[in-house]
């Protein structure tokens, strides 16, 4: 870890101490993802390595019944730094619940989840990320403000956000001046059936006329989930259009794809998971897309008092197949041990 990162980590620790002191209770937890990955393509092994992919340190202070916070640091193995490990900020927000005259509402300020598609409630049933995160359409967290809430009687949820749009790993000069409004709606008309969608729209010139990498960006998704008995099946359609003016000519590029993911839970410790993704990065160009087939299982070894797995092994085989017939399929085998521990610190 470089010197700058160490100074940042120290300052964050001091901030955390203040946060804990102010809160009634603070939940302290860690979640670690230890992974083995083997990558093979065209009969050759390209990677065979153990790593720590995530090391989340979470602090969730409760200031009052209505005001809570969340602070999350991610410690991970990386070849970008001399010491082989990196640290990054994942969540840092305060939320205010039921403070406006709309019941069941929540307002958050800071770096929160991105309330779009499936990425905000993605629990990594597969080791692979949610489609929009994997194809770099939307990041799983971003800086901004979020107004979220529940529809009474459990009929769903909604979110209206204004975020940077570049994701949690981009800051300062890497963030353009255009804010990105996001709207998300998820309806649950009957138990087991969820239908929803989200839209993100970013336009240059909204605040100033400074040129950005694009004139217009729009991402949208439709989501369906069916959970009946042992079957929990997810479906998502995702599309993004980028509009760019080059030498006076405005041109739009459209990317689109979908995901199907059935999960089967016959016995409590075992989840069987299948997933198929299809992605076309430019619908105007032929043979530039790919598809991914994932099969695997999660073996849940330990559970907390609420029945949530706290120690489990995920095993995934993943094959990426390219539309370009000259490109050989890429196979990945990943075995991951995820473990979580935590406790409440009462002030």
């Amino acid at each position: 870890m470089n010197k700058k990162a160490k100074v940042v980590a120290l300052m964050l620790c001091l901030l955390l101490s203040v946060e804990i002191t102010l809160a009634i209770t603070t939940n302290l937890s860690m979640e670690l993802w230890d992974r083995y990955t083997m990558v093979r393509q065209a009969g050759k092994t390209q990677k065979s390595a153990f790593s720590l992919e995530r090391g989340y340190l979470r602090l969730e202070p409760t200031f009052t019944d209505k005001i809570k916070g969340r602070f999350n640091l991610d410690f991970f193995a990386s070849d970008k730094y001399n010491d082989g490990a990196g640290i990054k900020l994942k969540y840092a927000y305060v939320e205010f619940n039921d403070i406006v005259p709309i019941p069941l509402s929540r307002f958050s300020f800071g770096m929160d989840k991105t309330y779009f598609g499936t990425v905000y409630d993605w629990t990594y049933v597969t080791i692979e990320k949610a489609l929009e995160d994997k194809e770099k359409v939307i990041s799983s967290a971003d800086y901004g403000i979020n107004f979220t809430g529940y529809i009474p009687k459990g009929y769903g949820e909604y979110a209206i956000s204004v975020i940077n749009g570049e994701g949690y790993s981009k800051a300062a000069s890497k963030v353009n001046i255009n804010p990105a409004p996001v709207v998300n709606l998820r309806l649950i008309p009957i138990p087991g059936v969820s239908l929803g969608g989200s839209v993100l729209y970013e336009k240059a010139g909204f605040i100033d006329t400074i040129k950005t990498a694009y004139d217009k960006r729009m991402a949208y998704t439709g989501v369906a989930r069916f959970a009946f008995g042992p079957l929990d099946a997810w479906f998502e359609y995702l599309a993004q259009t980028n509009g760019v003016t080059t030498r006076g000519e405005y041109k739009e590029t459209k990317s689109q794809g979908f995901m199907i993911m059935p999960v089967l839970r016959f016995i409590r410790p075992l989840d069987l998971v299948l997933r198929y993704d299809k992605w076309d990065p430019n619908s105007g160009t032929a043979n530039d897309g790919w598809s991914t087939l994932i099969g695997g299982f999660n073996w849940n070894i330990l559970f907390d008092g609420q029945g949530t797995p706290t120690l489990f092994v995920q095993t995934n085989w993943q094959r990426t197949m390219y539309d370009d017939s000259n490109k050989k399929p890429l196979d990945q085998i990943m075995v991951q041990l995820r473990w979580t521990f935590g406790n409440n610190l009462i002030d």
């Binding site: 959970a227 008995g229 079957l231 929990d232 299809k278 029945g307 409440n344």
Partner: protein, 277 residues
């Protein structure tokens, strides 16, 4: 795209085959698991013991954890019954419905949140405003209420507790419990702490009243079977056993037993209020 469709068809066929073969994994069930509210716990334990005596082939396991834990466990599918001393929240209902669960609240008893002090305390009654002032720290010495010059030790339940939620709704009304309050994990812990601490005040379900603590009148009304049932006691509430959909099979048999005259007799024996006189 043709390749994609082929892969989808293959995946669908595989899912279908596994689903069809799954019926063999679901045999007849002869156990009931439940967890959650520590207020409901005495009723659940007593009913479970009696029910198992009546049905030797059935095993009923009961654990605590708090109402929030009970409902979360029902949603996670780790229990058949989630015990709760508060109604399910919309947030929990949403989480349940999206996972294909349909929580149904079966009211099994009535309770009053009893405000308790150490038996040495001369105080006999409080109004809700004063009670709120004690819990928020505006009143911090018994002298202000005509008692001895003694600091009030505020004992509360932790935030996972349904009793805490109902107390917050009916007494605190959105205000924050004073920062030095003892936040305890069970009714029993609150009752024990109040019994052992002369300046303490706490709140517990009626089933946890004993000679070790003294219950106070609230707004001039003592919590009792009559005042809880007719709603005269302001801190009355129903106690629930949540199930996924209407109870079925042996879960139904168990709930039916609690609702039967024999079961309601057990409710009364544990100190709670039966649904009917």
């Amino acid at each position: 795209m043709k390749k994609s469709l082929n892969a989808i068809v293959k995946v669908s066929v595989l899912v279908g085959l596994v689903l069809m073969s799954s019926s063999a994994l679901f045999g007849a069930k002869n156990s009931v698991t439940m967890g959650g509210s520590t207020t409901v716990l005495p009723v659940a334990q007593k009913a479970a013991e009696t029910f198992m005596d009546m049905h030797n082939e059935i095993n009923v396991s009961v654990r605590g954890g708090g109402s929030g834990v009970g409902i979360a466990s029902l949603i996670a599918g780790s229990v058949d019954i989630g015990n709760s001393s508060r109604a399910i929240k919309d947030k929990e209902l949403k989480a349940a419905r999206e996972k294909g669960k349909n929580p149904v609240g079966n009211t099994v008893a009535l309770d009053g949140i009893a405000i308790v002090v150490n038996p040495k305390n001369s105080l006999t009654e409080l109004d809700i405003v004063t009670l709120k002032n004690i819990y928020t720290g505006k009143v911090s010495n018994w002298k202000a209420l005509g008692g001895p010059d003694q600091t009030i030790v505020v004992v509360s339940r932790d935030v996972a507790s349904g009793t805490y939620e109902v107390f917050g709704e009916k007494v605190l009304k959105g205000s924050k419990v004073r920062e030095d309050a003892l936040m305890l994990a069970s009714n029993k812990a609150v009752a024990t702490t109040v019994a052992e601490t002369p300046g303490a005040i706490g709140y517990v379900g009626l089933g946890f009243l004993s000679e070790g603590v003294k219950a106070l009148k609230i707004e001039g009304v003592m919590p009792s079977e009559k005042t809880v049932r007719d709603g005269e006691y302001k801190l009355a509430r129903p106690l629930y056993m949540y199930t996924n959909g209407a109870p079925k099979g042996i879960v139904k048999e168990f709930i039916d037993f609690i609702l039967s005259p024999d079961g309601q007799k057990l409710v009364k024996e544990t100190g709670y209020v039966p649904l009917v006189e």
